[in-house]
Amino acid sequence: MLEIENLMVFFENALAVNGLTMAVNTGEIVGVIGSNSAGKTTLMNTVSGLIIDMRIKEKRKGGERITVYGRISFEGEDITEASADARVQKGIVLSRERHPVFGESSVIENLKISGHLRKRSEIAETMDSVFELFPALYPLRKRKAGFLSGGEQQMLAIGMALTVRPTLLLLDEPLLGLSPLMQKAVVEAIVNLNQDSGITVVICEQFARPVLPIIDRGYVVENGMLTLSGTGAELMDNPEIKAAYFGI
């Protein structure tokens, strides 16, 4: 479904992603595991096309020069230079890190804004399934999103991505800053939406422990480079992973 070939991303002369090659098959949950500054967010921004927008904005300001080499293709089509909104139209939707929501709008309005590409009836339908997926959001639906807790905002952020009806959902650090209980709820929801709605999911995370059991395949990145890859079970048994991420 998604193929990334030899991807390199430079911010000025700093290399954020270095020669990364990976693939995501339809229906899979793929994990990208790495510590801070490993290049996970840059990878997500590059796949979702946000980097194209960032590059234009920086160029207008005369700021940082952003360069992307390599090839990203989605369902056989080269999308390396496609704009972020064109990629959303194709079905690639990113839920950014630190659960960004529209703070001044209510939960319901947030879901309406995010689903603005879809028909009214489709939004209503997805909204119901979002509340089914995250029952905790339902009592809060009229509250301003800015007043929700971090975990609730994370649920909302994932729900907002779902209203776009993605075929490929990219989650950038969905567990960041959440309590273990909340992490469990979010992980369960990810499994549910993968199994019930058939959405292909890519999760970037530094918390490997809750993520590794649910992924079909995983990639480990360090300093922008791929160091390991394998199925979820293989990675869990890998002594290096155990040492680095489980502290065993």
Binding site: S48, V88, R96, F102, I113, G115, H116, A161
Partner: protein, 290 residues
């Protein structure tokens, strides 16, 4: 006298709100402070005048065409000038102010000044309400102002494009992840702001004449109202219009007409001293609470 003054104060407030609402919409959504706003206001009035008097178009056709043309010019200004300097507030202000200045001074240079440059009123009769004569035009201004504000509210809360506007206004990058293109929305926001300036000119200009000064005047009033209300907040614009509108009219009736300008400037100073973000500095309020 009190009732009459109050009625004129309400009319004055609605006029101020109409003048400011387009500027506020553009700024609230795209963050572009369109200093060419006054020029769009005057330009649309001249366009209507020319279509009626030189091309012989009927009044409604001229009005609709000039609103459309002004909106298109707004979009063109964004696409060809503002987009290149987007995100740099100072450059945006200089670019728009320069364009506005050029347009207004060109009209002056070509001699578009005088009493013959005015627009027709909708209906020429008046009522006697609360001890004062109120003409139909002023009542229509109030009605159109109310309809416009309600229409904008419905637009931003219940249409898919309006919701996209609100998304961009709050967080551009997040909105982009849902397929909302910031440049497209900003272009539409500038165009709509210019179109609203044209609507305001259509209903307000018939009370006076068209002149380049009117452009500067409208820009200053729009800025004053928006700053007092809290930039980008529609509720703030309405409240601020009423504060300035009432202050001006009551000063005019009870103290002296030469004090009106000072009163509105004093109102700006006081509000900025007491609450620097304006009446509804909404984002700031939210940030303080969490």
């Amino acid at each position: 006298m009190l009732a009459g003054t109050a009625i004129y104060a309400i009319i004055n407030s609605v006029i101020l709100a109409l003048m400011a609402i387009g500027f506020n919409l553009t700024f609230g959504i795209s963050g572009v402070a369109n200093f060419a706003y006054g020029a769009f206001y005057v330009l649309s009035a001249y366009a209507t005048w020319m279509m009626i008097n030189l091309l012989g178009f009927s009044y409604p056709v001229s009005v609709l065409l000039s609103i459309l043309i002004t909106a298109l010019l707004g979009a063109a200004m964004y696409r060809f000038v503002l987009m290149r300097v987007r995100g740099q507030a100072l450059s945006e202000v200089i670019a728009t102010f320069g364009i506005g200045l050029a347009v207004l001074e060109l009209f002056r240079y070509f001699g578009f000044v005088g009493f013959e440059y005015n627009l027709p009123v909708f209906a020429d009769y008046s009522f006697f309400i609360g001890g004062a004569f109120v003409d139909m035009q002023r009542l229509l201004i109030v009605a159109i102002g109310v309809v416009l504000v309600l229409g904008l509210w419905v637009f931003t809360h219940h249409t898919s494009l309006g919701l996209a506007f609100r998304g961009i206004a709050q967080d551009e990058r997040t909105a982009l992840t849902f397929g909302i293109n910031p440049d497209k929305i900003a272009m539409l926001a500038v165009a709509m702001g210019a179109g609203l300036a044209a609507v305001a000119a259509t209903v307000i200009i018939p009370l006076g004449t068209i002149s380049p000064e009117e452009g500067y005047d409208v820009l200053i009033k729009a800025l004053a109202v928006c700053i007092i209300g809290g930039l980008g907040s529609t509720g703030g614009v309405i409240l601020a219009s009423f504060v300035i509108g009432f202050a001006e009219r009551f000063t005019d009736s009870y103290i002296g007409s030469h004090w009106t300008m000072i009163v509105s400037l004093a109102a700006i100073l006081i509000v900025l001293a007491v609450k620097p973000s304006g009446f509804f500095g909404k984002q700031k309020e939210l940030e303080e609470r969490i």
